[in-house]
């Protein structure tokens, strides 16, 4: 069985700040990391390797720095990695991104299972997985909290929906998006990190993937972002610090009564 995990390197949300004068995001010097739930997808693939002898692949679209994310996935136990990087890919929306990932998955070939996260931490649109499934004409199994079984050309999963947990069986090949609850991702050990750093990782650009410039990047994107600004929160930011706790509590209650949200 061949399993491909698609991951994304994102700005560490803990380090992101807004410039109060411009209300724009400050990304200079902000470190990047693998999007949280992508690690759950990696972990699930590694478990399929351990339990089912799956051959595992990881791909990411991004700048040269995204190589670090791939090395981390290799250190967690993934067998092979490809970096999908080309200046032509810059500013791709979810459609253009899915085209790049789909081309790479076709190039890897004979893939039985594609794993992505339910959504990325930054965009949080949850669109790339289903778009990828549509481009590859695969059945999609989203919000998967448990892979019940996989083998004999089929997969059974448990999906986390509003109305309950839906146990679904689908034929392979298929695409699965996982939730944070599916597993506890492992930490890479130092020897594995060392080994992963020496592994050969190819970079594929538009030419290697057989994609034209019109299909990718800004020109291949359907969505155009006009601006991205921090919302004006207009919050009071009053912290009751004075005196004993009993005084702070009293002031809080009085403030809430004054706001008309509490009655005492």
């Amino acid at each position: 069985m061949r399993v491909v995990v698609c991951i994304k390197q994102v700005f560490d949300p803990a380090e992101l700040k807004v410039d109060p004068s411009t209300r724009l995001l400050v990304t200079d010097g902000v470190s990047r990391k693998i999007s949280d739930f992508d690690k759950n997808a990696i972990e699930e693939a590694v478990r399929l390797k351990e339990n089912q002898k799956a051959e595992t692949f990881v791909i990411t679209m991004g700048p040269a720095d995204a190589m670090r994310a791939l090395r981390e996935a290799l250190a967690m136990g993934i067998d092979n990695a490809y970096l999908l990087s080309d200046p032509a890919f810059d500013n791709s929306d979810t459609l253009a991104t899915a085209r790049v990932l789909a081309a790479a998955i076709r190039k890897i070939g004979n893939v039985d299972l594609v794993l992505t996260a339910e959504a990325s931490m930054d965009g949080y649109s949850g669109m790339v997985g289903p778009r990828l499934a549509a481009l590859l004409n695969l059945p999609q199994l989203t919000y998967v909290r448990k892979i019940v079984s996989v083998g004999d050309g089929k997969i059974v999963v448990e999906r986390d929906l509003e109305e309950g947990y839906e146990v679904v069986e689908a034929k392979l090949p298929a695409l699965v998006t996982v939730t944070k609850e599916i597993n506890e991702p492992r930490f890479a050990t130092l020897p594995k990190i060392m080994a992963a750093s020496k592994k050969k990782v190819d970079t594929w650009g538009a030419a290697e993937l057989g994609l034209s410039k019109e299909e990718v990047g800004l020109s291949g994107s359907a969505v155009q972002v006009m601006k991205a600004e921090a919302p004006v929160m207009g919050r009071k930011n009053i912290i009751f610090k004075e005196g004993e706790l009993s005084q702070q509590v009293e002031e809080l209650v009085k403030a809430l009564v004054k706001e008309g949200v509490l009655k005492v």
């Binding site: 669109m127 778009r131 448990e158 109305e163 944070k180 972002v225 809430l256 008309g260 005492v264």
Partner: protein, 323 residues
Amino acid sequence: MRMAVLVFSENLEVAAELLGKGRELANDLGTKLAAALVGSGVKGKEKELFAYGADVVYVVDHPSLSTFFPETYTEALAKVVELAKPEVLLIGATKRGKETAPRLATKLNAGCAAGATSLRIDKEKKLLIAERPAISAMVVATEFSKTKPQIATVPPRTFEKPPRDDSRKGEVVEVKAEIPPVEKKVVELKAKEMKGIKIEDAELITSCGRGFRKKEDLKLLEELAGLIGATLGCSRPIAADLKWLPEDHWVGLSGHKVKPRMYMAVGISGQVQHLAGMRDSKIIVAINKDPDAPIFKVADYGIVGDLYQVIPALISYLKSKKG
């Protein structure tokens, strides 16, 4: 010439909300307002959609649609789009809507604004301008699609349900669609533990996060909630990982979006995904022992302290007032 604003949600409550907003967009575009009714044995439900403002309802009633699969619903909706030629397509961002919209958009080679919190028409350019939280919900992105139909998904309760008018009538278009079977089957639907609360309706919410050390300790917050008439909310780990509370209490981007008159976050650090679910609350109160917790940045009022001391103090003060 594109003819309509089309809305779809498998959840008729959400469809009604979309019709409310859809009417405004249709007026600005000078088009009709249409709704898609998709499923098996759904005929008859079009009255609901007319009552909330649809001029036309496209009905795709097919036995293959008795189970919701994004693959088959994509086929059905693509057929409706082909007939209705909508300028704008709004899809309710329930979990099923969120997984179907991108599949449909890809089939139509179109963009999609995911989780739009605001929608308007640029009348001159006939563009749908969408606002949505982006980059870990730190910013609001304003965007439009270069492709038609212009698609957006809209989270439940983003827009108000319009007044119901049972006397409204409209045109029914029965859509004959070929729905190729999908090689998938639902083996079982396991029930989730739900208390049946609707946190979106709560006026006051006291919400708990990882600051609570064990499930039994939630009693503290329950007591406070009882005193002030608040509903219990929680962050992702409490509902999804620890399962200390059923998911109908979960506030956040993947949980419920709430706008109460007061939201009190207790022992919640304020991860961006949580903030996205409660940032529209009228008054936000934060109680956390970490003065640098992001929740304080979005709070109107706060106390920096150990919740195991602050909450009992709050309870005893409120009790003393009530005598």
